[in-house]
């Protein structure tokens, strides 16, 4: 009974006072959008971590990963150059009938 009276009073206030009417309208609009939030989330699934700290860690890992890749490429390139130098000198071929050294 008490609740019903309060609601009636509020409704009357809404009808009489335009300020209260706007307030109620805004309240309903907010409630409407709040109700839609799960739907919006369903449409745009976050395919990448959204927390700034997570993002920072991921980008930092990416930079470190590229540094590692470049480092490995430099090492392989140096090794390849050395092999090619030895091949050009012709000292990479095994001689036949070479005595074994124990």
């Amino acid at each position: 009974m008490f609740k019903s009276t309060t609601i009636h009073k509020k409704m009357l206030n809404c009808l009489c006072c335009p300020y209260a009417y706007i307030k109620t309208l805004i309240f309903f609009l907010i409630m409407l959008f709040l109700g839609d939030i799960p739907l919006l989330a369903q449409e745009n699934v976050e395919v990448f971590p959204s927390a700034p700290y997570d993002r920072f860690i991921i980008y930092q890992a990416l930079v470190l990963f590229w540094i590692g890749i470049i480092g490995l490429i430099v090492i392989i390139k140096m090794k390849l150059k050395e092999i090619e130098r030895i091949q050009d000198m012709g000292i990479d071929k095994e001689e036949k009938d070479i005595p074994f050294l124990d």
């Binding site: 369903q42 449409e43 699934v45 976050e46 395919v47 990448f48 971590p49 991921i58 980008y59 990416l62 990963f65 590229w66 890749i69 490995l72 490429i73 392989i76 390139k77 090794k79 390849l80 092999i83 090619e84 091949q87």
Partner: protein
């Protein structure tokens, strides 16, 4: 067991020296177009990435139409690094198909298909077809509205082929229309049928490459500067390219993770302005060139028949190009190769821009 003991144990049983000798004596010719030799190894490396990431994703994916979409959302949002593995799988697929196209078109233009490498061409061509079907079936597993519409169009297009079209369509769909049964069927293709076929064909392809050695283009036969050993020279260069490719795949996965669309509704109309994946764009554009009705016949059916004939001719090129088989220059087939390559590139770009 120490490393030396393990080595001795293996050497007692297997002829490792023979393998070492084979690796040392395998020579690769050095010429102007040698860079294209690396596309095959790169495609294989990207396939390995696909196998690994695919296995990880299959632990969590649910191949049932009511849960498929939700399971992918959970992989991406709830699992640790789930988004990363899905993204790696997506970009690995895009790059591997791209590299395979480069590999096939370079083989076509350099006429590496010529006698005695016809079987290499055939196995490679089938592998490209399998990869495209891998792409389509994997795309459908997402069970979102775009994938659903794409599979409906693709299987419907195959259904326009005369005589066998109806059978292919119903075999792929597992029924009259695209339904949950199609998802189960595509999952089976994607994780069991296609990987087994790929492994068998890749094994044959690699064995044939070892058997025949690397092909030298006719125009470069006199310009071969020298031969370098595959191990370690070429293998080291392969490693460098693979490392760069890995970096590119990881970077793309982080900077451009693939989106997840709305869950597919079997009764809803397809979304507007829908486009297939980039490797289907040239077919999509070709279909657009044909009117709905051509001389009283179904225009789409004529287009599908012509496209199929074009692909069949492409597949059988080693058997038509008799001059190359004799080791002579064949400008007609060079032009045919250029036309095929240009058509694919131009139509893909037009499809992408429109």
């Amino acid at each position: 067991m120490s490393c030396q003991r393990l080595k001795n144990w293996i050497e007692d049983r297997y002829d490792l020296d023979g393998l070492r000798g084979f690796a040392k004596h395998k020579l690769i010719p050095v010429h102007r177009y040698e860079v294209l030799y690396y596309t095959g190894g790169l495609a294989m490396f990207l396939f390995i990435i696909q196998f690994i990431t695919g296995m990880v994703l299959s632990f969590y994916y649910i191949p049932y139409f009511e849960q498929a979409h939700k399971s992918i959302i959970e992989i991406v949002t709830k699992l640790n690094m789930g988004w990363f593995f899905r993204s790696l799988h997506h970009w690995g697929a895009q790059l591997s198909i791209g590299v395979l196209f480069i590999h096939v078109f370079s083989t076509l233009l350099l006429k590496s298909y010529r006698k005695p490498r016809e079987l290499l061409w055939i196995t490679g061509f089938i592998l490209l077809g399998i990869s495209i079907f891998f792409g389509l079936s994997g795309y459908f597993l997402l069970w979102d509205e775009r994938a659903f519409a794409a599979v409906r169009v693709a299987t419907g297009g195959a259904g326009n082929l005369p005589v066998i079209g109806g059978f292919i369509k119903s075999f792929l769909r597992g029924g009259i229309d695209v339904t949950g049964d199609t998802l189960t069927r595509f999952y089976a293709f994607h994780v069991s049928v296609l990987p087994i076929l790929t492994l068998i064909l890749m094994g044959i392809h690699i064995a044939l490459v070892q058997y025949h050695g690397m092909s030298v283009p006719i125009s470069e036969e006199k310009n071969v500067r020298k031969h370098v050993p595959f191990f370690p020279n070429v293998l080291y260069k392969d490693f460098i390219i693979w490392l760069v490719a890995l970096g590119v795949v990881v970077t793309l996965s982080i900077l451009m993770p693939p989106e997840i669309g709305k869950k597919a509704d079997t009764l809803a109309a397809p979304p507007e302005n829908i486009k297939p994946e980039w490797y289907f764009l040239f077919l999509f554009q070709t279909l657009k060139l044909f009117p709905g009705d051509l001389m009283g016949l179904n225009g789409e059916m004529i287009a599908i028949v012509l496209i199929s004939l074009g692909i069949l001719f492409f597949f059988l090129i080693p058997f038509f190009d008799r001059r190359s088989a004799r080791g002579e220059k064949s400008p007609v087939f060079t032009w045919i190769g250029i036309i095929y390559t240009a058509y694919f590139i131009v139509m893909t770009i037009i499809g992408f821009l429109t």
